[in-house]
Amino acid sequence: MNVIGTKWVFRNKSNDSSIITRNKTRLVAKGYNQAKGIDYDETFAPVARLEAVRLLLAFACMSGFKLFKMDVKSAFLNGVVNEEIYVSQSLGFEDHKHPEYVYKLKKALYGLKQAPHQWYERLSLFLLSHEYERGKVDKTLFIKKVRTDIILVQIYVDDIVFGSSNVKLCEDFVKAMQGEFEMSMMGQLSFFLGLQVKLFKEGSLYANQSIAKTSLRSSRWNHVK
C-alpha cells in the first residue's frame, strides 16, 4: 500500500494596493508519490481556450447579455476519488493515541494527480444532470435552451462566466450552483483571467492594463537601454 504524504502550504493574499489582507493555508497531498494505475488513472482535464472566452464576450455584447462571474471555493476538494488512496496524518494534527494510522480519502485533495480531472468530472456531471448540454467542440462550454431563451456557461477550472438572454435562467443557475458547491465572488464580470473588462453603454472593452503596469515596474530590466 502506498501512503501519500501531506503538507501545509501557506500563502498571503494581498489586495490591489499590495497590502496583505488574508493568510491562507491549504493542505496538499504529495501527488508525486502516486503510482500510475494504482493511485490514479486518467489525469486530463479540459480548460477553456482564450478565444472561447473572447467569443463569449463578443457574442454577449452583440445579443445584449449581461455576463456574470463566480468562482467555486476550493474547487478541487469537491472532486470524488474513485481509487483507494491513503494519506498520512497532517502535520500538527497527529493522533497521539494512534500515530501509525492513516486517512482514507473520499474526496480529492489539492496536489493529487487526478484532482483537476475529478473536479471537471464532478462539475460536468452536475451540469449535465440539470439539463445543460456540453458544447460540441468546446467541452468547457455548457448550454441550456428553454424555449427561446438560452444560458451560456463557460468554465475555466474553478472560474465560471455565464450569461443569459433571460435573467431568470441566471438566477436558477446561481441557485443550483450554490446548493451544490460553496461559491464566492459573484457579480457582474469585471476581471477574468487577468483581463479587466470595462462595460460601456454601447458595448464593453477590455485591457489587461494592470499586468502591463507590473511588467514595466519590474526593476530587473532597468540596466540595459
Binding site: 478565444e51 467569443l55 463578443a58 455584447c61 452583440m62 454601447e202 492594463q209 530587473r220
Partner: protein, 196 residues
Amino acid sequence: MESCKVTTTSMSTNCYLEADEAGPEVNQTMYMGLIGSLLYLIASRPDIMFVVCLCARFQSCPKESHLKAAKRILKYLKGTISMGSSYPSLSPIHLVGYSDSDFAGCKLDRKSTIGTCHLLRSSLVSWHSKKQTCVALSIVEAEYITAGSCCAQILWIKQQLEDFGLNISKVPLLCDNTSAINFDKKSYPTLKEKAH
C-alpha cells in the same frame, strides 16, 4: 523602465534579428522572464504578438541585440498601456478571417511566419502568429498553408457559434495572393474567397 521614453511602434522596420553569435551575452534568466511576461500580455494585445514571438526564439542564447528589441516592446507598451480590444454592440453579425504570411521571413532557416485573425463583426476574437514548421518553396505555398490554418480556426469558431445558437453559412477568408486563392477554390468550394 517606468521612466523610459515612449516609442510609437513595437519594432523598427529594419529590425532584423539573427543568432548574433559574436554579440555580447545578456543574463538568460532575466531575458526569459521578460519574454514570459510579454507572452502573457498577448492574451489581449495582438499588436505585439509577432515581435514577442520573434524575440522569444532567441531565449536559449540571448544577446544584447535581442534584449534591445525586447526592451523596445516595453517602451511601446508604456505608450499604449490603456489599449485593449473593444466589443461594440449592435451591428449585423458576420465573421471574417484574414490570413497573411511573410515568405521566408526568418533569415535563419528560411521558414515563413503565418499571421491570421478573425473578426466577429468589428470585434477581434482570435489571432495567431506562428513560424511555419516546414519550408515553403514559393509565396503561393506559404500563403496557402496560412489560409489552411486560418480555415481550421474559422471552422472552430463556426462550430462554437452554432453552440451559441447562431448559424453563419458563409465565412469569407481574405488572402492577398491570387494564385493561392485560385488554389483554394478547388479544395474549399463552400468558402467564399476575395482578393484583398
